[in-house]
Symmetry: C2
Subunit: 215 residues, 2 copies
DNA sequence: CGGGAAATCACGCAAACGCGTGGTTTTACA
DNA sequence: TGTAAAACCACGCGTTTGCGTGATTTCCCG
């Protein structure tokens, strides 16, 4: 099933021993072909200039010269169809966050066994996003931070509705028209919103509403 | 290793057949104890009032009465230490997003085999966050949307600086004072910002800046 | 070296805004 | 059934804004 066109894999990893060992492991897998190994991102980027396009890249983030995190968006631009898996020892939230935002297709730790790494590659090919369990947990936790309404300002439905119109830049007059109300009513609601949000200007209210996900 | 205190699992799932089958499968696992099965979230919430606290909950989202997504935050509040796994047929971005934001510890699909479900439970106990591969991919894609500067409006440094002041609700006068400039200069910058962002009001500019992560 | 973009400053006007202060009607709940 | 909160409406005042139309200076780059 895989013999006609083996999966082309690149390794970007400065530790030569680890890179070669991993390359050997991957090569031994049916359908895998470890076509290139680079010690620096710059070399990999140069290779893309020569028109080479792997299916998968295993990318270390702690590299001499250009870091993997810096290279990621560049690689993604050059190789939009290539799935890039992070393979690193770092598991801090900032690196995870930046890697994912930059378009990493998965995040593995170097503590992973060869079996786990090959399984991850197969998973990413199958449309998945392999992650170390702890990393996945962190991702979900970070994600859940986005949905918090933070504080409760006890805004009424009408007030939230008007707050929504504010974020579209509408004038009091326009909001009144849109809701079929008098401009004085909008003004009245607006004041209560200001009091509840503890702001004094429209833009401050909009900023607070958006920053704290009230709308 | 697990005999002293088996893992207590609740199922919240309206399909009686599926729930009972799954309960039987889980019970057959070493160290698992399927203590309760509910057809409605309301029943589960009532059970928490009686002081019951499972280790794991498998929660369907498409339920009669209160939906699983509505119940999730309530369950999380009652049972802060319980890991809640979503087990559903739905895989649309909105449901995934809401479930994760509400604190789901994992997201499984009902197409999962019994083996996959038991593996997922063991994974969540081990500090992981089991997800269906496709779901995990979606999560990373959604996540990566947060880091985008979206479009490039070609704002100058000064303009971005002033845009920042705008999001704090400052008046032109105040910004001028803060930057040691004339109010006319701020006005001038403001107009260019409006032109570049294609807006006509301050709040619209603030909204656009925050929504598109320009600041 | 010269052109263009960015940054700075200036004046005036109509429109919109924030705010004080008043009111009535509708809705919700005890 | 009463009462409080929300929603609705109104007028006026002083301030701020958005915009048209100008100008000068600084700095980068071809």
């Amino acid at each position: 099933m895989s013999s006609p066109s083996p999966l082309q894999i690149w390794l970007i990893e400065d530790n030569t021993t680890f890179r070669r060992t991993l390359a050997r492991v991957l090569e031994s897998q049916d359908g895998f072909e470890c076509t290139e190994g680079f010690a620096r991102c710059e070399h990999a980027l140069a290779a893309t200039e020569r028109g080479l396009k792997p299916d998968i890249i295993l990318l270390d983030v702690g590299l001499p010269g250009m870091s993997g995190l810096h290279a990621l968006p560049l690689l993604r631009e050059k190789l939009p169809d290539t799935k890039i898996l992070i393979l690193t020892v770092f598991d801090d939230d900032d690196k995870i966050f930046r890697a994912i935002c930059a378009g990493a297709a998965g995040y593995l730790l170097k503590t992973a066994s060869p079996e786990e790494i090959t399984a991850a590659i197969r998973e990413v090919v199958g449309g998945g996003a392999p992650m170390n369990g702890r990393i996945a947990r962190r991702v979900l936790e970070m994600f859940s931070q986005f949905g918090r309404p933070t504080k409760d300002y006890d805004l009424s439905e009408r007030e939230i509705e008007i707050l929504n119109h504010l974020t579209t830049g509408q004038l009091k007059k326009e909001i009144a028209q849109a809701l079929g109300l008098s401009i004085h009513t909008i003004d009245s609601h607006l004041r209560k919103i200001y009091i509840k949000l503890e702001v004094n200007t429209r833009s401050e209210a909009v900023a607070k509403a958006l920053k704290e996900k009230l709308v």
